[in-house]
Symmetry: C2
Subunit: 148 residues, 2 copies
């Protein structure tokens, strides 16, 4: 199995834009990205090309415009990226990162509620690990289910 090449920080940024707006031209990605940070059109083009050559995007010409589409789901890339970070920074435990995020004061009051619910679901899924009974609440979270 080939170890799919990891995305660089810059590539991640462009990938995110691509996930956000779906299949898009270079200009669309450029507009989206340049709103946040200073970047050249040609640079975006290069990133998209590299994204494609690494297998994270595909493209086709529509007339004279090239349309890029994401080929991987954000979840997968995010998972790998975060896992790598967690590995290097915390030896593989996710908890220290969670702790950091919560303690670092970036969670709004409103989000606390969601967080609490998330934890409730998590707890019940850990407690009730008898398969068969699917919960209706929101997203059914299967821990290791080979999807796609």
């Amino acid at each position: 199995m080939k170890k799919s090449q990891a995305l660089s920080k810059g590539e991640l940024e462009i990938a995110r834009a691509l996930w956000d707006i779906g299949p898009a031209t270079v200009r669309q990605i450029y507009d989206q990205t340049s709103a946040t940070r200073d970047i050249d059109f040609a640079t975006v083009q290069t990133y998209l090309r590299r994204l494609e050559s690494k297998g994270y995007a595909s493209s086709k010409l529509a007339g004279r415009l090239r349309i890029y589409s994401a080929k991987t789901k954000p979840q997968a890339v995010i998972r790998d990226t975060v896992a790598d970070l967690v590995q290097r920074l915390f030896g593989g435990s996710a908890m220290p990162l969670v702790r950091h995020l919560i303690e670092d004061g970036d969670i709004s009051r409103h989000e606390i509620a969601e967080l609490r619910k998330l934890i409730d679901d998590l707890e019940s899924s850990k407690t009730d690990d008898v398969p068969g009974a699917a919960k209706v609440s929101g997203g059914a979270k299967s821990p290791k289910e080979p999807k796609s």
Copy 2:
């Protein structure tokens, strides 16, 4: 103020080892790190040198051995590193990352309790944001600048 150079993934790994075991020789860092992943002694040496040249570590000779010490606190580096990731991957919101971590099933049952407590503290600190009453639980979080 100079924008301190960011650490690469490899450098982060070595920095972590240095934080873990405190002032240490190359070999100590090497032993610690090579237990987890394949790496050459000389590579560790190079990383430590680079860490020092970037200002994240200092060193002195003790006899014929060079002792490296971390010069920055892990919190600061972690904060910057994670902030950068969150920026690129989620446009700056921490919540999606927290959500990911929780939903990705890397939190043990035991950690759930801690998490809940963390949230409780967070909530009370948000609700009661009138200064003056210091909480005993660990650490006043300094709120960051209100980014957009």
